[in-house]
């Protein structure tokens, strides 16, 4: 499926912004025009090979503004679970209890499920082993980590992120 004009424009602007940030040239006209040219070239090639579609480059935000609250919350979870796993690794008794559990994610879009699965994996102590249809297999280092997931705090957070319109 070919992207519409707005996808093309948004990809081009995104490339241009990234080029400016990474190059750091703001006042050299020659280099700036080369940058603009290369962005146009990349966008044209992406359009020719039909790599621009709504899924790969959403011009409208598919996520609600709650993501700005979700990231700090996720960061806190990552830090807390890092400390927990660190304590268990350094404990001479190695108090681990590896567990495999099945979860039923409540998100209805692919993007929401991917965010949920990635968040689980990003948190040390829990790793998403498979995501198929509407079930999620998680390997957890400890039983308490698995039980925390089953309580579903993270699941609810990610579901709130999804917009009804997407």
């Amino acid at each position: 499926m070919k992207g519409t004009l707005s996808h093309v424009i948004s990809l081009g602007l995104f490339c241009l912004g990234l080029w400016l940030l990474l190059s750091g040239f703001f006042d050299n006209t020659f280099l700036l025009s080369l940058g603009v040219l290369s962005c146009i070239l990349v966008t044209w090639v992406a359009w020719r090979v039909e790599a621009i579609d709504p899924e790969e480059h959403p011009p409208h935000l598919q996520l609600g503004p709650q993501i700005l609250l979700y990231w700090p919350w996720l960061l806190k979870q990552v830090v807390l679970s890092n400390i927990d796993v660190t304590r268990r690794i350094l404990d001479p008794k190695l108090p681990i209890s590896p567990t495999l559990i099945q979860l039923k994610p409540s998100q209805h879009s692919d993007l929401g499920r991917v965010i949920y699965a990635n968040s689980i994996t990003l948190t040390p102590g829990t790793v998403t082993a498979s995501l198929s249809g509407d079930s999620l297999m998680v390997h957890a280092l400890t039983r308490s980590g698995a039980e925390d997931l089953q309580k579903g705090d993270m699941d609810r957070w990610v579901t709130v992120l999804e917009r009804e319109t997407s």
Binding site: P92, T121, T123, G125
Partner: protein, 110 residues
């Protein structure tokens, strides 16, 4: 102010090193492939994160910090996907050892 920034940056770098070493110890101590992935997760998240934070504090409000932030973002977006691919590949072959699971009786070995 510089001493404060330098101190915070040094703390972040030391913390990052600490978590990287703990991750390494974990990879040696934990019993099987699947549990070792959790130790690798420490290196990916807090280890790399704190070291990049320390470097960002050194760089200040410059484009270098923006690049370091981009590295951090890409790392945090891609490493879960890589870990997920590893687990899936390991589980897909029935010849591979299955994950060690905690039985109802607590493990007695030290």
């Amino acid at each position: 102010m510089t001493w404060l920034i330098d101190g915070l940056s040094g703390l972040a770098l030391l913390g990052g090193m600490f978590f990287m070493i703990v991750g390494g110890i974990g990879m040696l101590r934990l019993p099987d492939f699947y549990t070792r992935l959790h130790a690798a997760g420490i290196i990916d998240t807090l280890g790399a994160g704190l070291i990049l934070l320390g470097l960002m504090l050194q760089a200040g409000w410059t484009l270098i910090s923006v690049k370091l932030l981009l590295i951090l973002l890409f790392l945090w977006f891609t490493s879960p996907t890589a870990t997920h691919a590893l687990v899936r590949a390991a589980l897909s072959d029935p010849e591979n050892p299955q994950p060690l699971l905690y039985e109802e009786t607590p493990p007695s070995k030290p």
